[in-house]
Structures are given as structure tokens and as C-alpha cells.
């Protein structure tokens, strides 16, 4: 079967921040249907990589294609969930209105322009997807950290994306909500590609198809040869979970 073109293609990319190299000689291809986890040390360039893909930063060298287009264009198909810590915790806004922001680009404006019924339906479906249907009238700032994170995932889903990009979805949430989150992600992965930044490699390895290690350089590792029992045996030795012995070829990994 002929392979579909990758939805993200990065070729020979360099990025430096005030003359400090952050990413060097990055080649990366993300195939459609991927469920990948981006891991690496703090300051290793994980968030930078996300921002480059989103066109929020410009590379010094190299090419980024998102759905075959420049990031500024292709990003319309990306549902992005930032870390909620950069948001004002006191901002007076309802959960539903936060999720509706996913539809903001489709709003025509005009006098007393509100959201059309269609947008409301999309937003409510997204809230249902993350299990927060009962909270739509609540204030965003009343929610717990984990719930806020889920609202932001719902907002990303409300953009009706083909690629979901999640920055640390597991930060500040308890074990149980983390398990719920992973169930949700596996379910969503049946209809969209997902990339998430995570610290929690051991757990993530149960669901992700590949692990993208970012530490100035970017290397993809498949996780296909790792099963649940193995994880339990070696839990704690997180980096044993991925094959570091070789670099995958450019077609990506051959998992599943």
C-alpha cells in the first residue's frame, strides 16, 4: 500500500534563541494517524518544536510543512492545547465560552454577532468528549487544574482539527484523571493525529505509537515492541522503554 504523505514534514531545521542553539538539524515526519509523545529534558526544545510547527516561531534554516503548506496556513487544521498556567486564573469566563473560542475564526462578526447554533453544537460535543458536559455554565476559574486542562482540550477539539497538539496535558492532574485522559486520547486517535508533550513517559508508552525525543536533536522511537507487562517490570526506568540504539529511517517507524 502506498504511504500517505506526512502531515508534518520538517527538513533540516535549525532554530536558535538569541544565538543559543535550541534545535539543530531536525528532520521529522509525522504520518497521519500518529499518536506520538514528545519527550525530553526541560529546555531541550519541546515547546519550541510545537511553536515552530504552529508558525509562532520562525526557523533560522530549514523547511516546515504542515499539511503540505506553510505553518501559518496549515495550522488552521491543528487543535492546540497550551499549558493552562499562562492563562489568567481570575478571568471571568464560562467553560462553554472558553470551548467556543475554538470556533472563533469561523465567526463572521457583525452587529451583536454571536455564535451560530452549529458552533454551539460543536462546542457541546467537544465538552462531552472530555466528560465535562455538566460544567458548561461553570466559571473557568472555579475548576481544578485537571478540569481546566480538559476544557482546553475541548477547546482544541472544538476547532474540528485533523491534528491535536497537546502541551503537557498530564501536568498538575491526578492519576485517575490521567487514566481518563489517555482513554480519551486513544478514542480520539481513531479519527485524528495526536502529538503530546509529556514528562510521564512510562505511562504514555502504553498508549502512544511512538516517542519523539527532543534534546537539541529530534529522534523518533517506535514503541510497538513494548507491551504492558514489560512496562510494569521496568517501570521507573523510563528511558528503557524506548529503543535508543538506532535511529529510525526517514519514513518514520514501522509500528503496528
Amino acid at each position: 500500500m502506498k504511504r500517505k504523505p506526512p502531515i508534518i514534514k520538517i527538513t533540516n531545521l535549525d532554530f536558535s534563541y538569541r544565538e543559543h542553539p535550541v534545535l539543530e538539524a531536525v528532520d521529522l515526519e509525522i504520518p497521519e494517524g500518529e499518536l506520538g509523545s514528545i519527550v525530553g529534558p526541560n529546555g531541550g526544545g519541546k515547546t519550541t518544536l510545537l511553536k515552530l510547527i504552529l508558525g509562532l516561531l520562525q526557523p533560522d534554516r530549514g523547511i516546515i510543512e504542515v499539511f503540505g503548506e506553510k505553518p501559518e496556513k496549515g495550522r488552521r487544521k491543528i487543535g492546540y492545547m497550551p499549558q493552562h498556567v499562562h492563562l489568567d486564573p481570575l478571568f471571568p469566563v464560562s467553560v462553554l465560552n472558553v470551548v467556543l473560542m475554538g470556533q472563533i475564526g469561523k465567526l463572521s462578526g457583525g452587529l451583536f454577532g454571536g455564535y451560530p447554533r452549529q458552533a454551539l453544537e460543536t462546542a457541546r460535543a467537544a465538552l462531552d468528549e472530555v466528560g465535562l458536559s455538566d460544567c458548561e455554565k461553570d466559571s473557568f476559574h472555579q475548576l481544578s487544574g485537571g478540569q481546566r486542562q480538559r476544557v482546553l482540550i475541548a477547546r482544541a477539539l472544538c476547532t474540528e482539527p485533523q491534528l491535536l497538539l497537546l502541551d503537557e496535558p498530564t501536568a498538575n492532574i491526578d492519576q485517575r484523571s490521567e487514566e481518563n485522559l489517555y482513554e480519551t486520547l486513544v478514542r480520539l486517535n481513531r479519527r485524528m493525529t495526536i502529538l503530546l508533550v509529556s514528562h510521564d513517559l512510562g505511562f504514555v508508552s502504553q498508549i502512544v505509537k511512538s516517542v519523539i525525543c527532543v534534546n537539541r536533536q529530534v529522534v523518533i522511537h517506535p514503541t510497538s515492541n513494548i507491551n504492558g507487562t514489560l512496562i510494569k517490570e521496568i517501570y521507573g526506568g523510563d528511558f528503557n522503554l524506548v529503543r535508543h540504539d538506532h535511529r529510525c529511517d526517514k519514513d518514520g517507524h514501522h509500528s503496528m
Binding site: 462578526g109 452587529l111 454577532g113
Partner: protein, 278 residues
């Protein structure tokens, strides 16, 4: 009670006019104040308001030196405020670029220029009413300007409510969704600038930012939506202005500071109440 008798006195048209200006300016204070507080740009609004003095001074100087009779200081004030809003919006908005330093510099330079221009202008000019406001000096022309401002604000905010909400809540996300974030932000700042210029009549350059922030901050203690916060901020701002005007008239005090003290007292009482009984 004297104040209410005085209001009814047919000779006191100026007092009724002041009251009308005060009540109508509450609309602008409440709505723009809500954005200033939630978007956390009060420091920026402070820079804009102090630059207004530069515009006033510049206009007075030009009028005196080049005999431009039609040049009212309010035009200079508007121009200075819009330029300052553009500068701080464009350059004071880059995290990591020491934005407060930029904003503080604009603040001080604008004010210093104003005082130098007034020094250079022949004749004596009292800037007290610009610095501290005097709502009793407003004219029916001011009233018309404020009505126009209120209308523009109401139309802008009702037609772009969701866009402004998205830009203020999470600018980065709004940009990713294809919203022209810079445009909305600059429009909001421009509107803040015009509001500041027209409302220095009420509380003056030095205190106008307090009227933009105190009622809105007090309102935010009791509301969970941006729209609710606006309505309550308008109400609290109206209460402060009416009480301040009444007390200053009765006790023969400067109106601007008394209005600010009412707004400040409302804020601290409410914040304290909230802390104690939560």
C-alpha cells in the same frame, strides 16, 4: 441633602450637566475598565493618560505661537493619547523585552513634554483641572462627546464581544485561529485612549486610571462573566461619581479626589468583605 435641592434649583443647570456627564461617563469607565482590568493593562493606560498632558501642552503652545485659534487642547490630547496607545501597544507588548521600562519611559516623557510646552507658552495656564479633573467645569459640548464615545464603545463591544473575549483570554490561541489579534488589541487600546482623554474632565490625568480599574476590580469580585462585570462596574462607577459629586459639592471639596476616594473605599470594603465572609 443640600446636593439634591441644589440639583433641583433652576439656576444650577451646570450641576445637572455635571451629573449627566458623570452618569454617562460611567458607561465608558465600566466597559473599558473591565477590559483594562482583565487584560491587565492598567499600567499601559496610565502611560497613555499621562501622555495626554504632552498633547495638551503641545496644542496650547502651537495655538499661542502660531495663532491657530481653532486648536482646542482636546485635539492635542486625543492625538497624544492615540500615539501613546500605539507606541505602548506596538512596542510595550513584547514579553521579555522589558515592557514596563518602555511603558514607564513613554509615561514620563509624555508628561515632561507637556510641562515644558506649557512653560514655553506665553501667559499663565493652570493645569490643575487637567491633572485632577473638575466635573463642575464640563460643557454641553463635553456631554455630546461623551455620548458619542459611549455609543462607539457599546457598538464595538457588542459586535465584537466574542473576539475581544478570545483576544483578552488567550491571545496566542486567538491568533492561531486566524483572528487579527494585533488589530483588536490596537482598537481596544485606541478606545482606551479616547476614553482616557474624554474622562480626564471627570477625574483628571493623574486619577483617571483609578476610575478605570477600581469599579471594574470591585465588580470582578462578584461576577463570573465579562458582561456581568461590565454592568456591575458601570453601576459602581455611577455610585462613586454621584456620591463623590454630591459630597464634594456639599463639603466644598475637589470633586475628582472625592470620587476616587468613594471608588477606592467601595473596592477595599468589598475586597475585605469577600475575604472575611467567604
Amino acid at each position: 441633602m443640600d446636593f439634591f435641592y441644589a440639583l433641583a434649583d433652576p439656576d444650577n443647570a451646570f450641576l445637572r450637566l455635571s451629573l449627566a456627564v458623570g452618569l454617562l461617563s460611567s458607561i465608558a469607565f465600566g466597559i473599558i475598565g473591565t477590559y483594562v482590568v482583565t487584560r491587565r493593562i492598567s499600567y499601559l493606560a496610565g502611560a497613555v493618560s499621562h501622555c495626554v498632558l504632552g498633547g495638551i501642552g503641545g496644542a496650547l503652545w502651537l495655538r499661542a505661537i502660531f495663532k491657530i485659534e481653532w486648536l482646542d487642547p482636546v485635539y492635542g490630547a486625543l492625538l497624544a493619547a492615540l500615539v501613546a496607545a500605539f507606541i505602548v501597544g506596538r512596542f510595550g507588548h513584547n514579553p521579555g523585552q522589558r515592557e514596563e521600562t518602555m511603558i514607564g519611559a513613554t509615561w514620563a516623557i509624555g508628561m515632561a513634554l507637556g510641562i515644558i510646552f506649557i512653560d514655553l507658552t506665553p501667559g499663565y495656564f493652570d493645569i490643575t483641572s487637567y491633572l485632577f479633573g473638575d466635573i463642575l467645569l464640563v460643557s454641553s459640548h463635553d456631554l455630546k462627546l461623551i455620548i458619542a464615545l459611549d455609543l462607539i464603545i457599546i457598538i464595538f463591544v457588542t459586535s465584537c464581544y466574542h473576539q475581544l473575549l478570545a483576544v483578552c483570554f488567550d491571545e496566542e490561541f486567538a491568533r492561531l485561529r486566524g483572528l487579527n489579534v494585533e488589530l483588536f488589541y490596537q482598537l481596544l487600546l485606541a478606545l482606551t485612549a479616547v476614553t482616557v482623554v474624554l474622562l480626564i474632565r471627570v477625574v483628571g490625568i493623574v486619577m483617571v486610571v483609578a476610575m478605570l480599574t477600581l469599579p471594574a476590580a470591585a465588580a470582578s469580585l462578584w461576577t463570573r462573566r465579562l458582561s456581568g462585570m461590565m454592568l456591575l462596574a458601570i453601576f459602581l462607577s455611577a455610585i462613586s461619581i454621584v456620591s463623590g459629586l454630591g459630597l464634594s459639592y456639599n463639603a466644598n471639596l475637589s470633586s475628582g479626589p472625592v470620587i476616587i476616594l468613594f471608588a477606592g473605599a467601595l473596592y477595599f470594603l468589598m475586597a475585605g468583605w469577600k475575604k472575611l465572609y467567604k
